[in-house]
Symmetry: C2
Subunit: 394 residues, 2 copies
């Protein structure tokens, strides 16, 4: 074949400079704070083995077969009980099981976004969400994040003047910033969305990974939604393992049904096998002690990174104060560009990820994301000290 | 929320009349020839258990973690050896592991199809492919299927006059028609595609399910491709189980890399867990005796349906002669519309699927697809007799 004619859609997703930089992070013996993968030591291997050993012929047959597009009956049942326990009313709502949060976002993008469709995202926001909104040609309106969540004044101005089709938010331990939206802002956001009739897409992958406070402090927008204006996205990637590729969305029946239609063309259905594992993980109750262990494991790492930053970073650095999740967000205050920091850090054996991945053009030089989730405990202090030494010399 | 603004893409995929009809096929106690699911009795449950019991800590950690977008290293390795054994040269080619053939098709659609992009498909063709080409706005050019494969004269005329971006074909035991492309036509097709520089998308899910002849009779277009003009799509859905959601494509590096970019936005990566199961299924060699059993199981059912059709259907019915796969294709010769046959059959306890699902508007009344894959052996003769009784009364 001499010449290919590719679609406008993939042309919008050119390999970026930042992706090229990230290829450097696969060098051996690096301390990698750049990724966002879970800690393999916290996967519940034994629970999954036990679950599978109990499958009878009927369960096995279902696990090996095609399933309904919205998920096999056992995972539907398990999730109905799970979200209800999390204060989400299912009246007029559908649950749709996806192959992870990324697919949920992709289906929502497919259902709502045309070329030029306006959407609001947080600044910074999740790189995977950007990709799936971009491929359908969305026009991004960036709303600044404050320490207690999105800037509501800016958001209202967008809602009023630009009539976006939805607002995409990660209210808990946001990726990449680690910021959590205050309860006050959650209530106000819901009112604003209702007033201007803008759908809220709530991405909540880290909600179970809180290291202080109680679940009440991190209640989902969906659980507070009186006006049927939120689609909530959940995932087993951080509660069990991302290797399952099982996530879900819960929201008003009509938009969820459009996502179902879109999915029939995208991959027909998810893995019944891994859906069955996730269903049993919830319905057996094994998930509860497992989550305790997972929280404790990450809490230790969060504290290690927090203490190291306090010890080794210069005072002028601004950083977020994550109460859960995987990430610290560092504001370099313009004293060094994030790409320059990236390069110097890689040379010393530490990988970070620069703000460019998460921000509109022009903003990325100011910030970096540091993840503690998959680093070895003994590496966290070491890596932060190396970064601190670079920063102190500026 | 009072009113949603959905995308043009999902508007193109309205719930069809045929989908409404298909809902009737979930009635209890029906003999269902309408589906296309594998026989749960032929899934290799014991092999998969054995595979998992041998996973060490390293394999388990990889199976539970996020994987690279093109597939984890063990499945890449297993498939490189698998496709090479199937006479496909990997020079200048990439293998890309997807979540099943439907996703491979969806990614190809995303990479190549804009609103109004012309593509050629067979008449009839696979319903899932139609959906993923439709959602991106493809304009379909329908090439008639003859007993030995697509009408090459019509195809050449399309290639010459319409400059389609690709031709989508299922050369072996086609879904829905059961037709296999002759070796002669394969060679001529490859020449035509090269002459007019039209990419061939070869969907080959049933290739291992041959019930007569030898693998040489069903060699993939890709294995015969001297001009780098074919993307071949394979899947574990029929060789192991569709519950795995593991498939692949192999083709020239550039278009496959575009599919990878598209996938990063669609679901980031597939299930490492089920990819590892599929990898070990191939690399352990367990796949070979398993495929023997699977072929033998379906061969028996194919023969049961063939014999029943010969015994119970009137002579004027035209039908395909499937040498493998799951399907018989019935031409009703205009003596009864397929929807009318569907209704009468459902009333008597048998479900078929009408041609509308697979054909351009206006053609569907003429034909029906009968699948023997998931019916109980004892039901095949019974169901075919019921259909025969209806047809004989016309």
């Amino acid at each position: 074949m001499k010449k290919y004619k590719f679609s406008e859609a993939v042309k919008r997703l050119k390999s970026s400079e930042i992706r090229e930089l990230m290829k450097l992070t696969t060098r051996p013996n690096l301390i990698v704070f750049g990724g966002g993968s879970p800690d393999p030591q916290l996967f519940p291997y034994e629970s999954v083995k036990k679950i599978q050993s109990k499958w009878d012929a009927e369960k096995a047959a279902m696990a090996y077969q095609y399933g309904p597009t919205p998920g096999i009956p056992p995972i539907q049942k398990a999730l109905r009980s799970w979200v209800t326990d999390h204060h989400i009313s299912l009246e007029g709502q559908s649950i749709f099981v996806s192959s992870g949060a990324q697919q949920s976002l992709s289906l929502i993008s497919c259902a709502f976004v045309n070329l030029g469709t306006k959407i609001v995202v947080e600044n910074p926001t999740f790189i995977g969400a950007m990709a799936c909104f971009q491929i359908n040609g969305a026009e991004f309106l960036w709303a600044e994040l404050e320490n207690d969540g999105v800037d509501l004044n800016q958001l209202e101005s967008y809602f009023k003047n630009d009539k976006p089709v939805f607002f995409y938010t990660i209210p808990n331990f946001q990726n990449p910033s680690g910021i959590t939206m205050s309860m006050q802002k959650r209530m106000e956001l819901l009112e604003l969305a209702h007033k201007y009739q803008v759908l809220i897409i709530e991405d909540d992958p880290y909600v179970e990974l809180y290291y202080e406070g109680s679940p009440e402090d991190y209640r989902s927008l969906k659980s507070l939604d009186k006006n049927n204006i939120v689609i909530n996205i959940g995932t087993f990637s951080k509660m069990l393992s991302p290797g399952m590729r099982v996530g879900w969305m819960v929201g008003p029946e009509l938009p969820v049904s459009k996502c179902e239609v879109a999915r029939q063309s995208q991959d027909a259905c998810g893995s019944s096998f891994t859906q069955m594992l996730c269903a049993d993980y919830v319905s057996s109750g094994m998930i509860y002690p497992s989550l305790e262990k997972i929280r404790e494991g990450y809490r230790i790492k969060r504290n290690l990174m927090k203490n190291a930053i306090e010890s080794y970073f210069p005072d002028w650095i601004k950083r977020s104060e994550p109460k859960g999740g995987f990430f610290f967000w560092i504001d370099l205050q313009g004293r060094i560009g994030s790409k320059e920091l990236f390069k110097r850090a890689i040379d010393k054996g530490v990988a970070v990820i620069t703000g460019h991945a998460f921000m509109p053009p022009g903003d990325g030089e100011r910030c970096c994301r540091l993840s503690f989730s998959s680093s070895k405990k003994e590496d966290i202090g070491k890596g932060i000290k190396i970064l601190g030494d670079i920063l102190k010399k500026l």
